[in-house]
């Protein structure tokens, strides 16, 4: 069982983000980190390969400036190798452009299954994965909260409005996993050390045969403006006390909810 996991490397989410005033693209200064949302996919893949008794996990990422620190985190968790697509031409890519690049990168390796998160922390379009599936001609199951391989087929519990559906699909396929799907492991010291020597192939847009088809220049979207949203009026904030409960009850009465 060979599994490709798409892992996005993003600016540290604990740092307040900002927009470039000229391009309105997210400012991506500083070291990138592995998007937390993707650690669930990496863990899921490692467990599925284990259960299958063989095969390997390949991480696929598109990121500026040959950034690999996020990929290394995934390698330290146990993935075997990485594929990075990095090219100045890719700045300002929209979801479809990203999907074209990732689909082409995935095609350079052998896989039975592609795993992604349901949405990234910084972009959260949630459309990239299924666009990849369409471009690769694969079936897809989004919003998986449980994933198994049974008799060579994918078996997924997929979230729905009302609960969940049990969905099956032949392989190869693409699945997007939610944060509840598995508990990601922390990389061990040994894992971190061995990650340093695991292979990461770097590809350019030209290597993938996509010159002139992807990146900001070919993205169909334009930013028109950015403005501050209407701020909410600051409210009353009080410390807990018996009087506080009385005041809260008074507030609820005034809203006529009691």
């Amino acid at each position: 069982m060979n599994i490709c996991v798409c892992v996005k490397q993003i600016p540290d989410p604990t740092v307040t983000p900002s927009l470039d005033p000229n391009t309105s693209n997210l400012v991506r200064a500083g070291k990138l980190v592995l998007d937390d949302s993707d650690t669930f996919g990496v863990e899921m893949a490692l467990q599925l390969v284990d259960a299958a008794g063989g095969g390997e996990v390949t991480l696929v990422s598109m990121a500026p400036n040959s950034e690999v620190s996020g990929i290394r985190t995934g390698l330290a968790m146990g993935a075997a190798k990485g594929i990075l697509v990095s090219d100045p031409e890719l700045a300002g890519s929209d979801a479809l452009s990203t999907a074209k690049v990732l689909a082409a990168a995935i095609k350079t390796t052998e896989f039975d299954l592609v795993i992604t998160a349901t949405e990234s922390t910084d972009g959260y379009t949630g459309t990239t994965p299924v666009q990849i599936a369409e471009l690769l001609g694969l079936p897809s199951v989004s919003f998986a909260k449980k994933v198994e391989i049974v008799d060579g087929a994918l078996k997924v519990e997929r979230q729905t409005e009302a609960g969940f559906d049990e969905v099956t699909s032949p392989l190869p396929a693409l699945v997007t996993v939610t944060a509840g799907v598995v508990e990601p492991r922390y990389p061990s010291f040994k894992g971190i050390m061995s990650a340093k020597s695991k292979p990461v192939t770097t590809l350019t847009v030209a290597d993938l045969g996509l010159s002139g088809q992807v990146g900001g220049a070919n993205s169909g979207q334009q930013v028109v403006s950015v403005r501050k949203a209407e701020a909410r009026q600051a409210g009353t904030i009080i410390e807990d006390s018996d009087d506080a409960i009385g005041q809260l009850v008074g507030y609820l009465e005034q809203l006529k909810v009691i």
């Binding site: 959260y124 459309t127 299924v130 694969l138 079936p139 979230q159 009302a162 018996d242 506080a244």
Partner: protein, 322 residues
């Protein structure tokens, strides 16, 4: 009217259009002369009546999906209708599981982009400018398509208020879907409903949500009790959904439900940006959190700094004692 024709993916649950569908149709009516819909299901012809009330003049019946997940077939039906008929100026999908999948498949098939997480649309000639809340709703980013119709938008729930139109006659046509081969391989084997009582989370006038600050799973009962005293619905942050305290259908936020109740009470919730985008539109917000620096206090109208496990029982008693 600035646009000629808009298509809407109409989703139904228990033979009724979802609220998000009615919101999309209402928005489509304000921008286009002609609104047409696509729907799947066993008896799509029966949907024509209610869709007609919302201004739909033509309904493409994708038919029963026979267990397939909707995305591939919806996208194929739309792509085929575009090539055999005429393309719409814009296509609206809801930010739902199937809406997102369908929009993504269609975008890749047509090789046109898609704008997601839309919370408002503004017409500018035949273009629609889409507003998208970023940084937890602090900033509004407006974007548009550079070229090439159709403009595909995935629109978040509660972005428009649903409003029926004068009833129109809705013609039903069958949407042909050719054999999709491997992309249509995923099949639903069985469906499971997680029961919940009381008003629906996204429609309730009062929502009481609990987060990790409740400390332990059984304290969620306090949230449920308070919600029921206020005739509201209980909700949750993702932290306690992931931890398995409550089912996913309780989640409020970016990946969960968008709620805009008259009153939202956040108990032990920090107010992460992804939670805020789902509840910041509430009319009145109450927060209970022991950390006075918690971001949730920046958006609340009334906040108490303290231990939720003490405050909520006292509040319940005080309400009962009235």
């Amino acid at each position: 009217m600035s646009l000629g024709k808009i298509w809407v993916l109409a989703e139904f649950a228990d033979a009724k259009p979802t609220t998000a569908t009615l919101e999309l149709l209402t928005a489509a009516n304000t921008f286009a002369d002609k609104v047409e819909a696509f729907a799947w299901g066993e008896g799509v012809v029966n949907y024509a009546g209610v869709l007609g009330d919302y201004g739909v003049s033509k309904l493409y019946d994708i038919g029963s999906l026979a267990g397939s997940l909707p995305g591939p077939k919806v996208a194929a039906a739309m792509a085929e209708a575009i090539s055999s008929d005429s393309a719409p100026d814009a296509i609206f999908f809801a930010t739902s599981y199937d809406g997102r999948d369908s929009a993504a498949r269609l975008s890749a098939r047509l090789s046109v982009g898609v704008i997601t997480n839309v919370v408002n649309l503004v017409a500018n000639g035949s273009e629609l400018n889409a507003e998208h809340a970023i940084f937890g709703g602090e900033m509004i980013l407006t974007s548009k398509f550079a070229a090439a119709a159709p403009q595909i938008f995935v629109i978040r729930a509660k972005s428009f208020a649903p409003e029926a139109k004068e009833a129109a006659n809705c013609e039903v046509v069958s949407a042909s879907v050719s054999d999709l081969g491997s992309t249509d391989g995923a099949k639903i084997v069985s469906s499971h409903v997680e029961e919940r009582s009381g008003p629906k989370l996204d429609e309730a006038p009062v929502v009481v949500s609990g987060g990790r600050g409740l400390g332990q799973p059984d304290r969620y009962q306090l949230v449920e009790e308070l919600a029921s005293l206020l005739n509201g619905a209980p909700g949750a942050s993702r932290a306690i959904v992931d931890a398995g305290w409550v089912p996913y259908s309780y989640q409020v936020g970016q990946t969960g439900k968008t709620v805009k109740p008259n009153l939202y009470i956040a108990v032990g919730i920090s107010g992460a940006t992804q939670h805020m985008v789902g509840m910041k539109g509430s009319k009145n917000i109450v927060a209970i959190n022991k950390d006075k620096e918690a971001p949730i206090f920046q958006v609340c109208d009334f906040g108490i700094v303290g231990d939720a496990s003490k405050i909520v029982p006292k509040l319940i008693e005080a309400i009962k004692a009235r």
